[in-house]
């Protein structure tokens, strides 16, 4: 009780609720060694009061205590703050108790006696979980009310690189900025048409903001990954490497998993797309109505292989499984317009009008 009163008003990352003093103290030392601030309580009632006051991120909770039980504390925690991550300390080493407490919302359990590494490992993961559910907040360009996260710092750096080029300053870049700069070079090379690095950096920054907007629209939910990528694809029309890397940071999902999704689904393109998309349907109905021959004709008229884009980034040719308008078979779709069984003259006229539109723009 004494320690509780003394500590009132201060803040803490972890609250430890355990009736055994040695365990409490052991936890505190271990946690503080890693830079966490810890508060201690020796019973459930005090512990809950403390949690209400200081709103920790993680609660370490003994299940068997005099007074109210750990299970009861566990049940009441979400009522105080649903974001709190409870970790259960169990003295029995009994799997049943542990599983039961996990069902009731515990993040994980550690069995007594425990070693310091296991404890810190578990707390570390809980902290990460807390950050995933609470942290990455939308990037508010004007009033960042929350503490800056790592991606924010990078974004700032990126903008600095942009200014650096804008101003034509001479001098050396820091290591992080060099990394960003090389990403910009990669992007510039990939696009081919952006020769100036200044533009490439500018586009990089725009893209990163686009990712942030879309991620925010989906409330930073990890399971919305495919939906987020679809939105990005439809807005940007392809998924450059830096966007996926940024997405990885924002959602805290490994880049490898993001690339796995990008490669698995047909909808995503990892290469720049032409200004116009020509889709040739090769569904079964089109296949038996000479779709493949039409596809060959189009390929030779455009000089583009299926899946490819011409050098001027005008046309991307795609072969798709079914456009669902089989009555027009064989059918192609140029941007948003469908054409049923077009003749060579039709094709030439369609592509010419696309090119004309592009020139006017």
């Amino acid at each position: 009780m004494v320690s509780f009163v003394q500590n009132l008003g201060s803040s803490a990352d972890v609250v430890v609720i355990d009736d055994e003093a040695s365990i409490r103290e052991g936890c505190r030392q271990a946690l503080e060694s890693e830079g966490y601030r810890a508060l201690l309580a020796d019973n459930g009632i005090d512990g809950l009061e403390m949690v209400k006051q200081v709103r920790p991120r993680v609660v370490l909770l003994d299940l068997r205590m005099p007074g109210i039980s750990g299970v009861e504390v566990l049940d009441r925690l979400p009522g105080i703050d649903p974001r709190i991550i409870p970790i259960v300390i169990t003295g029995y080493g009994s799997v049943d108790t542990a599983v039961n407490s996990m069902r009731r919302g515990a993040f994980d359990f550690i069995s007594k006696p425990f070693d310091v590494d296991a404890l810190l490992n578990t707390v570390g993961r809980a902290m990460k979980r807390y950050e995933e559910t609470v942290e990455p907040q939308p990037l508010a360009p004007k009033a960042p009310a929350r503490p800056a996260t790592e991606p924010d710092a990078i974004l700032k750096g990126l903008e600095a690189v942009g200014e650096f080029y804008q101003a034509g300053t001479q001098g050396s870049l820091s290591e992080t900025l060099c990394a960003l700069e090389s990403e910009a070079t990669y992007h510039a090379r990939k696009l081919g048409r952006i020769h100036e690095k200044k533009k490439a950096v500018g586009e990089l920054i725009e893209d990163v903001h686009l990712v942030d907007r879309v991620v925010e629209r989906h409330d930073f939910r990890k399971n919305a990954l495919i939906q987020i990528m679809l939105d990005l694809q439809s807005e940007k029309r392809w998924l450059p490497r830096h966007m996926l890397m940024w997405l990885s940071r924002r959602l805290n999902i490994p880049v490898a998993r993001i690339y796995e999704v990008a490669h698995f689904y047909e909808a995503f393109s990892l290469e720049p797309q032409g200004a116009h998309t020509v889709q040739v349907c090769l569904g079964t109905a089109c296949h038996v109505r000479r779709g493949p021959q039409l596809a060959d004709s189009i390929s030779s008229v455009l000089g583009v292989k299926p899946g490819g884009t011409d050098d001027k980034l005008q046309f991307t040719l795609k072969q798709v499984h079914c456009l669902g308008c089989c009555a027009l078979a064989p059918v192609i779709k140029v941007d948003e317009t469908y054409y049923g069984n077009p003749s060579l003259d039709d094709l030439k006229a369609i592509f010419a009008s696309c090119e004309k539109k592009e020139q006017e723009r």
């Binding site: 109905a285 296949h287 021959q293 456009l323």
Partner: protein, 634 residues
């Protein structure tokens, strides 16, 4: 919709108002705005109707309604005018003025836009057109009557009546029981009894449950689910809410492929308007039942339509299947009990509640009840969506409804069930179409693709097409499927290229056995179907390819070539300008010359050569160097 529907009597009141509003204008022009007709420019057509109606100051008398798919895609855009009950086909913007002036103002019929049957008679009413006359359109009917973006339209047709009845007068167990007794089977392909699926999800111990609509229609050449979801999204939503109530779920998902943008939009609109009206959300119709629905877009992978894969995809992972012995009815989405049904299955639910057990069971065969929607495509006169009672024969579907094969050609095969289905030869045309009969014949119902092939279709090439499709879509996690399909595809590529050799067929049969027995999911397990059925019924075509290096249908590129009959060619130069690779050259009024080295065998020259000239020849085998002639100049 500005009023909340909080109780059953609210719903009845809204229905009364909606019906009244619909009859306020005496004339109604319905313009099909399904994807097929939109592709045929019905969007501009509807706008033109709006414009001309306003121009003649008829807005107070005439309603222009953009409806879902009518099904008769071959003759789209379709326009039906009520109460005249006249159906115009292939309507163009230029026809609008005449339709308004003649039909709406004078009450006459524009005969040239009517359907003309094979005896030369014009047919006025939609339901008298042979394409429609033999169908029983219970699910697709509403498509032609309602604007899919309007909740009022759906309610006016009796919509959400089944939901009200279920929520106010039936226990969840009774609903499950009703579905069980109805004999409804999953329309997505497998034909698993829907009631049993619901029951095991309902009985699963876990409290939190989910219901999912599978609208990831990946079969190439099939678009039934798309048309339902685009044309009548509320019927699926109503079925899903009823299912949620019966099973004990409070959250539903609609998984729809993003390649169907209109379906995504209309599904989302339906959810939003239902939620706004109080038909989704907390305390639906004052009964204390809570339910909500989210749309999840699929990013284009055939295998993600498999139930376990689809659930993985909703969780945000790569949509690859997992072993089926862990039942999704117990461990599905987020490891909670989940019922997943196809779009058409969900659409059947409100219908079943409304019709009642006896009337619903009256349609269909012993083992398959109700109707089935097919997408009738390929070499058939009337491409479109058809809804027929289970048990109708293939012959009736292809010839009576589909109008037979174009250009008087012979039917070679009908393929059902998509890439996992099989070929059925002409001798099986009298097969009644239901789940069991098709499986027995070596094909399957699948989700309802029905592709007609004529004598110009090469079965070997089409088999290769299906195998390549499956090889491309295999997720790759299990070796038998990944490698088995790749080897099959290599063998077939070789055969088609004229490099087939003895023993290929036996090797394919071995691979089929491997695929069937050792693959993880249905994609691999059913992959042998196209190969086996092709071998069973069209062995001679394979032999011709392998042993004689000959493609009897002259389809396989490496096994045929084009030539110009110089005795017949008048030098009109049509083919010269139609050739995409400039392989044909010549001078006017002299026979043209084809450069075989440049020819990509697209067949454009043959298409443009006037039938009475008929100077382009399609010949088996490789071109002989001697046939090349130098350009004769004068």
């Amino acid at each position: 919709m500005n009023t909340k529907i909080a109780t059953k009597s609210d719903l009845d009141r809204v229905r009364g108002e909606a019906r009244k509003a619909r009859t306020a204008k005496p004339v109604e022009i319905t313009v099909c705005s399904g994807t097929g007709c939109l592709a045929a420019k019905s969007g501009g057509l509807a706008a033109e109707f709006d414009r001309v109606v306003a121009l003649h100051d008829l807005q107070h008398r005439v309603e222009v309604r953009r409806t879902g798919c009518f099904g008769f895609c071959e003759r789209g855009p379709v326009v039906v005018i009520h109460p005249h009950n006249v159906c115009y086909l292939q309507v163009k913007e230029a026809d609008v003025e005449e339709i308004i002036a003649r039909t709406i103002v004078e009450g006459e019929t524009v005969t040239r836009l009517l359907y003309v049957d094979d005896k030369g008679r014009s047919i006025r009413a939609l339901e008298d057109i042979p394409f429609y006359a033999k169908q029983s359109r219970v699910l697709l009917d509403a498509n032609t009557k309602i604007d899919p973006t309007s909740l009022d339209d759906y309610i006016a047709q009796g919509g959400y009546g089944a939901l009200a009845r279920v929520l106010t007068s039936m226990k969840p167990e009774e609903v499950v029981d009703l579905v069980k007794k109805s004999g409804l089977r999953g329309r997505g392909g497998g034909g698993f009894p829907t009631g049993r699926k619901w029951e095991s999800t309902r009985n699963a111990a876990e409290k939190e449950k989910y219901v999912v609509v599978n609208a990831d229609e990946g079969d190439p050449g099939a678009y039934m689910d798309r048309s339902l979801l685009e044309g009548n999204p509320h019927s699926i939503l109503e079925g899903l809410i009823i299912g949620g109530y019966a099973i004990g779920a409070h959250q539903g998902y609609i998984y729809v492929r993003q390649e169907y943008p209109l379906a995504v939009t209309n599904a989302q609109l339906a959810i939003d308007s239902a939620r706004e009206a109080g038909l989704l959300g907390k305390n639906i119709l004052g009964t204390g039942f809570d339910f909500d629905v989210k749309v999840h877009r699929g990013a284009g992978a055939f295998v993600s339509g498999e139930s376990t894969a689809l659930m993985r995809a909703i969780e945000g992972f790569v949509g690859a299947p997992r072993p089926k012995y862990v039942h999704t009815s117990e461990f599905g989405l987020w490891n909670k009990p989940t019922t997943l049904n196809n779009v058409e299955t969900w659409a059947n639910v409100p219908l079943l509640v409304n019709l009642g057990l006896d009337q619903y069971r009256a349609v269909g065969t012993q083992g398959s009840k109700g109707t089935k929607i097919f997408s009738l495509v390929g070499k058939v006169c009337n491409t479109g969506l058809v809804e027929v009672p289970m048990g109708m024969t293939l012959r009736e579907i292809v010839y009576d409804i589909g109008g037979g094969i174009p250009k008087g050609k012979q039917l070679k095969a009908v393929q059902t069930g998509g890439p996992s289905g099989g070929f059925l030869p002409a001798s099986k045309l009298d097969l009644p179409v239901d789940f069991d009969a098709l499986t027995e014949a070596g094909s399957m119902m699948g989700s309802g693709g029905l592709i007609v092939m004529d004598e110009d279709t090469c079965i070997v090439d089409t088999t290769r097409y299906y195998v390549n499709f499956l090889a491309h879509e295999s997720c790759g996690q299990c070796v038998p499927c990944r490698e088995g399909l790749r080897q099959l595809s290599k063998i077939l590529d070789n055969i088609v290229a004229g490099h087939g050799k003895a023993g290929d067929i036996e090797m394919m049969e071995d691979l089929c056995e491997l695929l069937e027995g050792a693959s993880l999911c249905a994609l691999g397990q059913t992959a042998p179907n196209p190969v086996r059925s092709a071998l069973a019924h069209f062995r001679a075509e394979f032999d011709a390819h392998i042993l004689e290096h000959r493609c009897p249908s002259l389809v396989c590129k490496s096994l045929h070539h084009y030539a110009i009959d110089k005795d017949r060619c008048p030098g009109c130069m049509l083919c010269v300008s139609a050739c995409p690779t400039e392989a044909i050259s010549g001078v006017r009024k002299k026979p043209v010359v084809l450069d075989q080295a440049k020819c990509i065998k697209c067949g454009n020259c043959m298409d443009v050569c006037p039938p009475k000239v008929n100077a382009v020849l399609k010949l088996p085998g490789s071109p002989k160097p001697a046939t090349q002639q130098p350009v004769v100049t004068t």
